[in-house]
Symmetry: C2
């Protein structure tokens, strides 16, 4: 079948949450911006909602008839796009499965395993190859380079170069730049999570991503900003499956972040560089430790 209608299903679910009995849904173009899809999809949603008696639709009036029930929602797993599914499956295989460096990756086999066509797998692998974990042999298979210590070192080396550059650029941002406001928002969010660290330590990942992206943004350099995607995906999957000492680790990291943020606020380059280096080397260390911890179990380190 060409295209699962995941865009529709996901938007439909999100649209269900906008329903307020008695009121009318906004106009089609407004729903488009609200849901981030095209009018065609919005109209499909509206038609479907008429079908299931959620709304009465007559020209410009889209009166909500009843609140949505659990049964109205599409199941979660039907709402994620194919590429997300492939990514999850693939990362699981290479980070958790017994994936040794040098292993061959077979498009057809992967496609069969996931139950999809080869085209999607190929496109995923091509996109994924920029992360430096796999390499193509033309007219032949892909080779897994492996999530090894070597990889982690190369990754963090570049990360440090880029982040130092970005942090230095951040300090030079004009005082009225929106990044400063966002930085203060982030600082508060950090403080809040830290105040309740025992139950909220898992929220650190999201904060980490937001803070570092904000800083990279200041570099105004697409290569630096894009590179953060690699960091993000590695940390995302790695920590997702590796929760040992997470609370302790995240608590420490939040404190480092707070120091880092404070240093940025002073706008003193030396203070920023010091805080940045401190945090990055600690992040590197924790990545390395979790790598060696799992190396024998999963066989992913070299």
């Amino acid at each position: 079948m060409p295209k699962q209608n995941t865009v529709f299903k996901d938007a439909y679910n999100r649209c269900l949450r906008l329903l307020v009995v008695g009121e009318s849904l906004p106009s089609e173009p407004e729903l488009c911006t609200l849901l981030g899809v095209s009018r065609t999809t919005v109209r499909s949603i509206l038609f479907q909602m008429v079908e299931t008696g959620l709304i009465e639709w007559n020209k410009r009036s889209k009166a909500v008839q009843r609140p949505p029930t659990k049964a109205d929602f599409f199941p979660e797993h039907e709402t994620s796009s194919l590429s997300e599914v492939i990514e999850r499956m693939f990362m699981q295989r290479i980070l958790m499965g017994s994936a040794e460096p040098g292993m061959q990756i077979n498009e057809l086999e992967l496609a069969r395993e996931i139950g999809i066509g080869t085209t999607s797998v190929r496109e995923f692998l091509i996109r994924f190859s920029r992360f430096g974990l796999i390499e193509k042999r033309p007219n032949s298979h892909w080779v897994l380079k492996g999530f090894t210590r070597q990889f982690a070192e190369e990754l963090t080396d570049v990360r440090e170069m880029f982040e130092l550059k970005s942090a230095a650029a951040f300090v030079r941002l004009p005082a009225d730049h929106p990044a400063w406001t966002e930085l203060e928002t982030l600082r508060r969010a950090h403080a809040e999570v830290f105040a309740d660290i025992d139950s909220r330590y898992l929220e650190f990942s999201a904060l980490d991503d937001r803070l570092h992206r904000l800083i990279q943004q200041a570099s105004d350099n697409r290569f630096i900003i894009d590179f953060y995607d690699i960091i993000a995906i590695v940390f995302h999957y790695h920590y997702q499956w590796n929760k040992a000492n997470a609370r302790e680790r995240n608590g420490k990291a939040i404190l480092e972040h707070l120091d880092y943020i404070d240093a940025l606020k002073t706008r003193r380059p030396e203070a920023v560089e010091a805080a940045c280096r401190l945090h990055l080397s600690s992040a590197r260390l924790s990545l390395m430790q979790s790598l060696s911890a799992t190396s024998t179990a999963t066989g992913v380190a070299q």
Copy 2:
């Protein structure tokens, strides 16, 4: 049609050059390594050569009957793989054609224009997107970000960071590392070309690529090494269509290279850094100048 047999045609052409009348071609596996293809392809070549009377083939003897003529060769343009064709066409469009930043790129239109299927175009665009010149809007078109001064600046900024790091690592290579031999070979090649600069200035591009790749290699970092692909493609196409002052520019660059090489040989980090900075800022300048020179004509600069 699925797959043009470009691998076969290209290998066939290269195999023709191995023919020596009276002698026998080597064994199949040997031909495989010589031509860099699989036995299946080698055997297709041999069958075809029997067909056209170039060889007599009986088990292990593959006696050459006659020298190949012009007519035996497949035309050059049939030997380049589809992705190479797309790359050329696409680069021509965005570097030479009237390609303004923000322009939409349409997979279907591009495919029709080149006369190929959409799959190949899609895959090319995905691969190409890592160069930061285009960006995908999911479920919709691609956006051309344009070969602008901004792009060139972001590119060269990262380039400088990486090359300084690599050059510093180069100095620390052990004395018996093969890179030192290769460096000396390259120095001689530079000197030779320079001695006859008026007629050989076009050979600079190849030398440039070899020298910089050799240096990046010393970083032992896949992200740094891979990044050079972006530099390479930009310089390749840009200079190919922009030959103003090429002789003068290349002559100057060769001298800078020679200084750079000499500095590396001294193994003194400060000398290396100085020579490296000098050359890179001169390369940046010349890229920028050629950009502004063509900006109005082709509308590619912002």
